[in-house]
């Protein structure tokens, strides 16, 4: 079962061109992150005061605030997973750069043995 979840997040490079495989991996992480949208910001101390738009109660509010700030300039979505206890630890980053308006915020979470995101594992990433 443990293998099942990790295999689900392995790049399918043997069958796909590199870009397509990377996009498929990114899709899985983004999809899992969206499934966590209703998780309370009280889930972890790193999330409690981290939302950029108020009022904010959930991880969905937190991510929406930074997505809304990705206007002019260079914007990037970065997703990655690595093996961890359970199955995998994933990170989703939202990155923005427009002169001194430069930041990267995101979330980290674990996947269970079936490849489902664990709501209690959510942490909020970022600095600045």
């Amino acid at each position: 079962m443990l293998l099942l979840a990790w295999v689900a997040f392995q790049p399918a490079q043997a069958e796909m061109p590199t870009d397509a495989a990377a996009e498929a991996d990114s899709y899985r992480v983004v999809r899992a992150a969206l499934q966590l949208r209703d998780v309370s910001l009280r889930v972890h101390a790193t999330c409690a005061q981290a939302a950029p738009q108020l009022p904010a109660k959930t991880i969905g509010d937190y991510l929406a605030g930074f997505l809304a700030a990705m206007g002019d300039g260079r914007n990037q979505l970065s997703a990655r997973c690595r093996p961890a206890s359970g199955a995998a630890r994933c990170e989703l980053w939202l990155k923005h750069a427009d002169e001194e308006d430069k930041w990267a915020w995101g979330i980290a979470f674990q996947l269970d043995r079936l490849g489902r995101p664990r709501p209690s594992s959510v942490e909020c990433l970022g600095a600045g």
């Binding site: 005061q49 950029p52 930074f66 001194e100 970022g126 600045g128």
Partner: protein
């Protein structure tokens, strides 16, 4: 520029701050938390003052953490909340107090009564002393200086306010290469 001796002191000096000029965060942070995509303004000032306040530090975020060295705070709004006294910045403050943190962000993001700052993306922090501000430029990826007037214009597309924060009681300033 020679690095000042690593003698313990509670007094912040221009010589200490100047020892960081031109340095990249990879040279300042012992824990290897130096991703250039991130904003390192709070990270820099917290290493200078050896402040660990907040929900997360550079050492917690790094897989290359070094034992025996403190983790520095990395978030502007959490540093603001950790300052014992905050208020509107006045250019005479840093001369009187021996240095303060100086924050630039939208006025709407700051609540002085609750000593809180919303985590909006456009916020920045430096250290003010003797009419000058030392801060980490995230476009130049190095420590630079600015006047308070220039610092107030850090973000072009929002109405900025300048705020100060007294250093937390546990703060101990250090020169480059002398962090705790």
């Amino acid at each position: 520029m020679p690095t000042p001796a690593c003698s313990p002191t509670t007094n912040l000096t221009r010589l200490m701050l100047d020892s960081y000029l031109g340095k990249n965060i990879s040279e300042i942070c012992p824990h290897g938390f130096d991703d250039s995509d991130l904003n390192h303004c709070a990270h820099f000032v917290c290493h200078v003052m050896n402040v660990s306040a907040g929900s997360v530090t550079c050492s917690k975020m790094s897989s290359e953490r070094v034992a025996g060295r403190i983790g520095a705070c990395i978030r502007v709004h959490e540093l603001f909340a950790a300052c014992p006294v905050v208020g509107k910045y006045d250019a005479t403050l840093d001369k009187l107090s021996g240095g303060v943190f100086v924050f630039v962000t939208a006025d709407s993001a700051v609540n002085l009564k609750t000593k809180s700052m919303t985590n909006i993306p456009k916020k920045h922090v430096g250290i003010a002393l003797d009419g000058n501000i030392w801060h980490y430029s995230n476009t130049e990826d190095k420590v630079v200086t600015a006047t308070p007037e220039a610092f107030r214009k850090h973000y072009k597309s929002q109405v900025n306010g300048l705020y100060y924060g007294d250093f937390p009681a546990q703060s101990i300033p250090s020169s480059f290469g002398c962090g705790r």
